[in-house]
């Protein structure tokens, strides 16, 4: 694999980049030229992953509402799809599964077959530790702690072309997530406005400092510092051209004023700036609902409302780019079938996830979830894992990003795919 810097040093298309394109940063010009030569008619695809940290109760998000066992196990948490006077019922998806009413924003997408759901998804490793399960899911190796890279970082390495822009892989988090650990270039940043030389209250000083830095980095003898410095300033100038702070989403999309809403809004901005974004990552927190998770109102309802409204704001905002976007959620495990003594649920096994995109095999609750009879539960208490998360991640990476090297992406996995994407 040719590294980014290797490519730049080798000078391949450097001639095209310099001078000709005026205000366009050099690396973008190079990237554009490179694209034209390697794959002239191929548009860039973007995979947006959202990690729901804390383990989402998949049985409440997408409830098998005809299941009497579940009803008995959750005396105060079970929700029905039947219409009553004082409560909002579940949204009946297919006669068996009901979507939580606070996710009503998802319903049209499901009906239009652009939203797919996988139920019973999880890890073959039965740990119920958040840390371990997230670690395994993000490294993509459920039985190996020592894997140094994350699966999304490996995906970047498998894109089939050099990563010529600093924005190929962006995580909207303050620290690098485990999924992004590794040797392929990736950036973690919680706020795009930080991508600048900053001196509060002193723009002139900041300008001067920026110019000084740019000149110093341009002349340093260290190739690493010189090259990264160049990219940094180009990226900075490019972002400065856009008014990030006073961004107006398209199509009257309204992002929730939440951490996730903010992250997705910034991802949308990057997509529209056409800076070469291919793998994006964001986080959603607060899913560890041991206490009073609520039903149609409460913590869980607020969480799923935020999740679905944020995703749908992104989707609406990116109306013109939808063919190139896939959004996928993931969570480390699910929660107990039985509610606990404090109105919540404890750590379980399988959960569900959502995949949104125009080439999704949507309108279906995928997976092979069995009725919740005692003999079907894992350890006598949890929704069993019937679909390995790697099956779904691998299929999405393949069909959306053209990555079909499971030996590198998920080295220990040799399973079957379940058809979440249309061929």
């Amino acid at each position: 694999m040719v590294s980014r810097r290797g490519f730049l040093r080798s000078g391949g298309l450097a001639l095209l980049g310099v001078g000709l394109m005026g205000g366009i940063p050099g690396f973008l010009a190079e990237a554009a030229a490179n694209e034209q030569i390697i794959s002239p008619y191929k548009k860039r695809k973007t995979l947006i992953c959202i990690f729901q940290r804390g383990a989402m109760d998949g049985l409440m998000a997408v409830t098998p509402f005809t299941d009497d066992y579940l009803k008995a196990a959750r005396p105060t948490l079970f929700m029905s799809a039947a219409k009553t006077n004082n409560a909002s019922p579940l949204i009946d998806l297919d006669g068996r599964f009901g979507l939580h009413p606070s996710m009503k924003a998802f319903e049209p997408m499901f009906r239009e077959k652009r939203l797919g759901i996988v139920h019973g998804i999880g890890s073959p490793n039965n740990t119920r530790s958040h840390f371990d399960a997230q670690d395994y899911m993000e490294s993509g190796t459920p039985f190996n702690k020592g894997t140094s890279s994350g699966w999304l970082n490996r995906a970047v390495g498998l894109l089939g072309h050099d990563t010529l822009t600093p924005f190929t892989a962006v995580s909207m988090t303050s620290a690098m997530p485990r999924s992004f650990y590794g040797d392929n270039p990736s950036v973690s940043i919680s706020n795009l406005q930080d991508f600048a030389i900053q001196m509060r209250g002193n723009p002139m000083g900041a300008n001067m400092a920026a110019k000084s830095f740019e000149d110093l980095y341009d002349k340093t003898s260290s190739t690493l510092l010189k090259q990264t410095g160049k990219e940094s300033f180009e990226a900075m100038k490019m972002l400065q051209k856009t008014n990030i702070k006073n961004y107006t989403p398209a199509n009257n999309a309204v992002y929730p004023n939440s951490a996730l809403g903010n992250s997705l809004k910034q991802i949308a901005q990057l997509v529209k700036m056409d800076v070469g974004l291919e793998v994006a990552f964001a986080e959603s927190n607060g899913w560890d609902t041991h206490f009073n998770q609520g039903t149609e109102n409460g913590i869980f309802a607020r969480n799923v409302a935020d999740l679905s409204n944020s995703i749908m704001a992104l989707w609406t905002d990116l109306d013109a780019y939808q063919d190139d976007m896939t959004v996928m959620t993931m969570t480390e495990f699910g929660r107990t079938v039985h509610q606990n003594g404090t109105g919540g649920t404890d750590h379980g096994r399988a959960s569900c996830n959502f995949i949104l995109g125009n080439s999704i095999n949507g309108g279906i609750v995928h997976g092979n979830m069995k009725p919740l009879a005692i003999e079907n539960l894992e350890d006598g208490r949890d929704l069993a894992v019937s679909t390995d998360f790697r099956s779904v991640f691998s299929e999405v990476a393949d069909k959306h990003l053209g990555i079909n090297n499971d030996r590198i992406l998920f080295p220990d996995w040799k399973g079957e795919r379940i058809g979440v994407m249309r061929v």
Partner: protein, 662 residues
Amino acid sequence: MPSAFVKNNKKYFFSAVLLVAGAVALSSFFEDNQNIRQAKFPYKQQGLTEKQAAAHLLSRFTYGATPGEIDAVVKTGLENWFNQQLDAKLPDDSLNLLLANFDALKLSNTQIVNQYPKNAQVLRMAISAGVVNKDSVKTDRKAYRDLLLGYMQQNGMKPEQELYRQFISQKILRAAYTNNQLQEVMTSFWFNHFNVSITKNDCAQFIPDYERDVIRPNALGKFSDILLATAKSPAMLYYLDNFTSSAANDDNGANKNALRRRLMQNMAAQNADTGRAAILMNKVQKAKKAQGLNENYAREVMELHTLGVDGGYTQQDVTQAAKVLTGWTIYPMGQYGKAVKSIADKIGNDGLQSRGFVRDSDFLFNPNRHDKTEKVVLGKHFGPDGGYEEGVQLLSMLAHNQATAKFITRKIAVRFVNDNPPQSLLDKMVKTFIIKDGDIKQVLYTMVSSPEFWSASAVREKTKSPFELAIGSVRSLNANVTQPYQLFNWINKMGEKIYYYQAPTGFPDKGQYWINTGALLNRMNFGLALTTGRIPGVKVDLAALNNHHEPESAQAALPVYSKLIMPERKLDETTKRLTPLLTDPNLVQKVDEASSDKLYARVNEPASMSMTSADKAIADSKLDSKQNKKNNVTAMQTTSGSNSMLGQVVGVIIGSPEYQRR
């Protein structure tokens, strides 16, 4: 086996072979090596002056030279200075005074578990004490938080987060101000090598003790000692799950199966009597928790701590090693290990010992969980029924394997020489590692007395990590840090959230990992923020740095301060590049007009609300000193003059490419 090695001394070769075979240390046979630590450093042959050599030495074995430190090292003598650092016995009175304000730092694990309980634990206790109604939990955030805080105060408990704030603040102060710099650098090195992470909730509380009692005292000792100490520490036992690992076919397993059968029968017969089913399921879960082999630690101790991934072990070795280490767990404390606690309460520690338990501080070997069959790891037999000693022998065998010598010495050379250390150097270090029984002091001395350490391919070739950049700047500028946690936020922003690296590999130690677009801009911003007074609780007196000789202009300031901050380096290029930008006749005025009001307001800003109590105590104690007060006043006065311009110039120097190297 490198050929030079064999040619040099056959005796060494044979000792290596014997050690590989698991023989005990033979270092006492080699008294001629006592003089390893007397060798002269060969820097002159590599074209370095004594001052340049001192600068290089300081760039590798400290967090950065303080003003005047290069001259001091030359005066002490380079070899003497290095030996002092290896012995790590210099007094640290002023640092200890600063650290005295952090009350959590001296607590034992048991005290921490009781005084800084985990948030979830507090909640459970508050519910069972009837302070918080379980039905109101999380429905009203503010009210419920207040209730919890009140409950904690009444019971002498403090928020868990406060513990980590104190611990991290401690690390920053120590790195910035300790006289035993090498010990602290090696503490960071070994912590990263034997990484544990605050992100893993189960082990987080034990991390302050881990660094204090497990890593730091062994940082310049023998490798086998630090390996054993980490293996027995609660932090590592939790981080890599060995605390839970037990023989797969013990009584618990049988219990679990019986419980499960009963559960099935019940469910079938009573058609989901949920209350009763829940009770049974809890029992199943508890039985399950206490049962089964966990290979995580056994795998990583070979792959990451000793042999290295290509160290010649198999999956079979991993499984067998995991069996050897079954029963290695922690002594009960707080909510941990309740089952053993009830036994211990009944029969006492003596009773435990007579039943084959081994207790060493927070560590416990529990023979009931130990796999008593015979095991074979890397060809060596363990047991049957060898108890605690099996694990000790296993770790000793791993520590003395030649693959380990290669793996560890290479990692040390990468840390201190360059990202791709030459084989000739590695051979020498491996040899010392083997004949000196993994004595880290001797290995380090061997490295520094090798010409490779002083070569052009080593000098200034390492890239500072964000932590090294931040602490190095504090040292370069003699900064006064009263709110260390503010620096942690910057270090995190630049890409190194210390103590939070999730994977057991630790942070990668190479320039390419640290230098990426987002991180690089943050490094520059850090430099500017630090020198223009925008990091609360971190004060820099630039005038004092130059003995209160104020440079006449920004142009004049540039070479003066470049030299002060980066002594013994060729800086022509840096100053040449920056000078044209500073020659605008109205520049100073412009910048000052644009900045001085706001900057002044910021410098005078009262202590941030987010200060920890310990931070406040430090800040207060410093303000008490009259001399400091006077200095503060002087600094303010220069601020309204050209100091903002000066700050900006120095900020650019800190953010410059040259300063990112060491």
